[in-house]
Amino acid sequence: MTVEAENAVLPIAIRPSPFRPFLEWTARRAEPVVISLGAVLVGLALFSLFILAIGKSPVQLFQVMYTGAFGSWFSIQNSLSRAAPLLLTALCVALPARLGLIVIGGEGAVVLGGVAAAATALPLVGTVSPMLALLAMAIAGMLVGGLWVGLAGFLRHYRGVNETISSLLLAYLAIALMNQLVEGPLRDPASLNKPSTSPLPAEYMMGDIPGMTLHWGLLIGIGACILSWVLIELTSFGFAARIAGGNVRAAQIQGLPVGRLIVGFTAIAGSFAGLAGMIEVAAVQGSANASIVTGYGYTGILVAFLARHNPLAIIPVAVLLGGLEASGGLIQRRLGLPDATVMVLQGTLFVVILLCETFYDRFKVFNPDLWKRS
């Protein structure tokens, strides 16, 4: 039978057409977008009920949120500056997640990365150029952060310790260690009521992106997300990791170095969080002290899960979450709502999005096979 003849007997809906490959491609990619957006809408609807219940107007609230998050160039920069550290701390969750590991202790790597960067800077200030000092600080932060979270990966593979628990406990250890160091050996004697390391001179700080009130951390974070996507999607190392994440036994039978993959991925993840700590010290705080315990490590968990551990999706999700946090202040000031409002919204969204995970593979419309020639 010729192709034309075959087409003539097939129902119109499944006739091959030049659009089919495109539809197939779209169907595969539309699933996470539609389900996530749907989850966000449901979450917002639930949150609106909550706002109605406390006697405020959800419409007005969303308007204020938009003003505070993206309503002006100032607000956009406000949101982006809050998103910057979340990009890196979300990677600390997303990368191990591709191996099937749930690491929630990125906060520890942030804190120790910051301390390591500040300690590295001490002997370098005044002896080497600012550029070189910043590079050394970044390397130190990444090394220490990588070591810290890599340890959780190591314990997981070689000692069978649950990485979720160990990474969380390691985060508490890290904060205690930081306090000990900045109140003891690393303390600047001039820091009386807020024990800190010696402050970085202004010329050794990371500075802002020209023309903006945003530090370079945002671009570094975006770069790290793109790099991670390449690592996972386009390299054999990433491919092996995805196999191991899908089925460890199968990966082992294939002869993949699962141990090295786990330690390697957790270490890379930790080094990103460590870099976030370095940036917090070099671009914002100017020294390491209790203020670098920011909670970015924990917000990163939320970002990574909302992005379904896709490094590229982390970028828009982090910006959205940064916007939510940026709008928190305006919600308090304009509507007299408590600060917890934004946390209620974050929590609602998180739960709804996790619930919606169960909808994957449930809708035929997203099945690429439907759009294939039968």
Binding site: Q60, Q285, A326, R333
Partner: protein, 358 residues
């Protein structure tokens, strides 16, 4: 919506400043109703709110990160704030300093910092109070109430402002009975409820029967101590509603006075002080009303000491005084006035305090 009018662009705000309302921003590191540090400041803001010609804007739970810089800028850009009170100690360096440098027309007054001329921008300044005087008075009440002659202190961090309070509490109690000792436990964090409860229980277990604290929110300490049957002395704000029977008195901030003075000066176009300090007599610090458990002799000594402090000539730290390692820290003929700058770098625990700064 109605907030287009309040978001006056900068040029309009400055030209209309004389007639327009003065927008004053308050930023807190924790919740406004924490029965402690933040509540004390929020109560001050509430006093300002009642003044004519003032709009108060507030934000709570703002972290000591870029968050507070953005909150300050947002108050300036979106709400036209002309005077800001970022109240957490950790906001000052680098956040207030960086934001003040970028916004030279806005005034910043910060709680607790040590503003230095030449080093810090002229539109910034710091204010604080000699609240160790209040802890000394707490100690007087505690000294009378204690039967075990052991009192306890739950402290956040071994820094000068906290050490002053620990030492003053013990010295106050020793002005009643020189055999009293005070055990101090440092939790390491400004706000860590679990450790505060553990520390309080540990102090009571070791025999302390009057407890006070210096943490951001004394709520947990007060409730835990009272629950275990110990007396409590408050700090930062009035916690007597939490333990009416066990609450002796408390060292409270009186920020309402301080903020009103700043705001009135700003409204009159006067220059605001850059380094402002004061104690009980200056209305920076006040005491909670004495509780029902305070006995008559205790009330008498409390009032005598109170009157003495109100003259401004009373020294909490007077020699001879040793630290708890046996070194002399205040000479026999020496006495530090309430505003002695040496007190702001205190690094020791006095004899009679059981505990260590490291």
């Amino acid at each position: 919506m109605g907030f287009a009018a309040s978001a006056v662009p900068g040029f309009m705000a400055s030209s209309a400043l004389a007639q327009a309302e003065l927008a004053v921003g308050f930023i807190y590191v924790g919740p406004k109703d924490d029965y402690g540090y933040n509540q004390a400041h929020a109560e001050g803001a509430a006093v300002v709110k009642a003044l004519p010609g003032v709009t108060v804007i507030e934000e709570e739970n703002v972290a000591e990160t870029v968050d507070v810089q953005k909150s300050m800028e947002s108050m300036i850009n979106l709400d036209g704030a002309a005077l800001l009170f970022p109240t957490s100690f950790g906001y000052f360096d680098p956040h207030v300093l960086a934001t003040a440098a970028k916004n030279p027309d806005t005034l910043f007054r910060h709680c607790g910092g040590l503003w230095q001329e030449g080093k810090h921008p002229a539109n910034t300044g710091s204010y604080f109070g000699y609240i160790h005087q209040g802890q000394f008075l707490n100690g007087v009440a505690a000294g009378h109430a204690s039967k075990t002659k052991k009192i306890g202190f739950v402290a956040a961090k071994p820094i000068p402002q906290v050490l002053q309070n620990v030492n003053a509490f013990l010295l106050g109690a020793r002005s009643v009975d020189p055999s009293i000792t005070c055990q101090v436990i440092f939790t390491g964090e400004w706000s860590l409820a679990v450790k505060e409860a553990e520390a309080t229980n540990a102090l009571v277990d070791q025999g302390a029967d009057v407890i006070t604290c210096h943490v951001d929110s004394p709520k947990v300490v007060v409730e835990t101590a009272a629950g275990r049957g110990a007396f409590v002395c408050g700090y930062h704000a009035n916690q007597s509603p939490l333990a009416p029977e066990k609450y002796l008195t408390g060292a409270e901030w009186a920020w309402g006075n301080v903020y009103s003075n700043f705001v009135k000066s700003a409204q009159n176009g006067e220059k605001l002080g850059n380094f402002v300090r004061g104690g009980l007599k200056d209305g920076f610090v006040k005491m909670s009303p004495l509780g029902t458990a305070v006995t008559e002799p205790a009330r008498k000594q409390f009032e005598t000491t109170f009157t003495e402090i109100m003259t401004g000539k009373f020294s909490v730290f007077q020699g001879p005084l040793k630290d708890n390692k046996g070194n002399e820290v205040v000479g026999a003929s020496q006495a530090f006035a309430e505003d002695a700058i040496e007190l702001e770098s205190m690094a020791y625990l006095v004899e009679g305090v059981v505990g260590s700064t490291s």
